[in-house]
Amino acid sequence: MILNCVLYGQLTEIFGNNKIAFEVDESVATVGDLRSLIYEKHPRLKGLAFTVAVHDTLVNDELKLKEGIELHLMPPFAGG
């Protein structure tokens, strides 16, 4: 399945883009699985926490992934 992700802040700098798509197999079933995969494949992210939102709402790592879902990956907030 292909997972489309929108990136923000420092993540856009690390990936050099504000969007990225991950093609994953069935072993990546939840947001938590994707998070682990991203840290594994992109060691530059080490130490940078990020939250995930779907439809403008924060989701936790247990959320099941499905084809077509758009994930927003957001580093720590810095408003104000």
Partner: protein, 194 residues
């Protein structure tokens, strides 16, 4: 439409647009009830739409005359007895990498506006308020310029002050806004709220 203005009980132009939009949805549903066994043909588009949520972002620094104008706008609402204002200003921090010259703000815009809306709704529930206004900068804001303007109005000072603090703290914690601190040396780092 000028954004950032939430649900003033005394009704400003933005609010009346907001309120009349939700009222018309309500009355349409009464006039045309969904058919039985039908999940509302023709009504599924009546999910509250994003465009009903005001945009609280201002390109660049928040002009100080906008702040003055916001105060003036409230002066005709004479049931208000107290305002509280928070202004966030970009600080020229001296760090190892240099001195902060500006912050470049980006955001998950739709989510941030939805979060501002939720924060303001929740402020209206917790405190006796007449109005809540939130404005946040987007793009580049230089040291010394204003990047956040929160304005709460109430009958009495305690409610206005408590609400203002609540709104600011909630924004810092929950709004998906990102800040790239650019130093005089040309280096940069990503701001993190503590």
């Amino acid at each position: 439409m000028q954004g950032g203005n939430f649900h003033s009980l005394h009704g400003t132009p933005t609010d009346s647009v907001f309120n009349s939009a939700s009222k018309s949805v309500h009355s349409l549903q009464k006039v045309f009830p969904p058919l039985e066994g039908d999940q509302g043909v023709g009504f599924r588009n009546f999910i509250p739409m994003k465009k009903d949520i005001p945009n609280c972002f201002v390109e660049g620094p928040i002009p100080t005359d906008k702040i003055a104008r916001s105060i003036e706008e409230q002066q005709s609402y004479t049931m208000i007895g107290a305002h509280d204002i928070f202004l966030g200003q970009v600080r020229a921090d001296n760090l190892e990498q240099g001195t902060v010259a500006e912050i470049e703000y980006t955001a998950n815009l739709t989510m941030a506006n939805a979060v501002f809306h939720e924060i303001s709704e929740s402020a209206f529930t917790k405190f006796e308020l007449n109005s809540v206004k939130i404005y946040h900068s987007l793009g580049s804001v230089k040291a010394g310029e204003i990047c956040l303007f929160v304005f709460t109005s109430s009958k009495h000072r305690k409610m206005a002050m408590d609400a203002c603090r609540f709104v600011v703290e909630e924004i810092k914690e929950k709004a998906p806004i990102f800040g790239k601190e650019k130093f005089t040396t040309g280096n940069h780092q990503w701001k993190v709220n503590t």
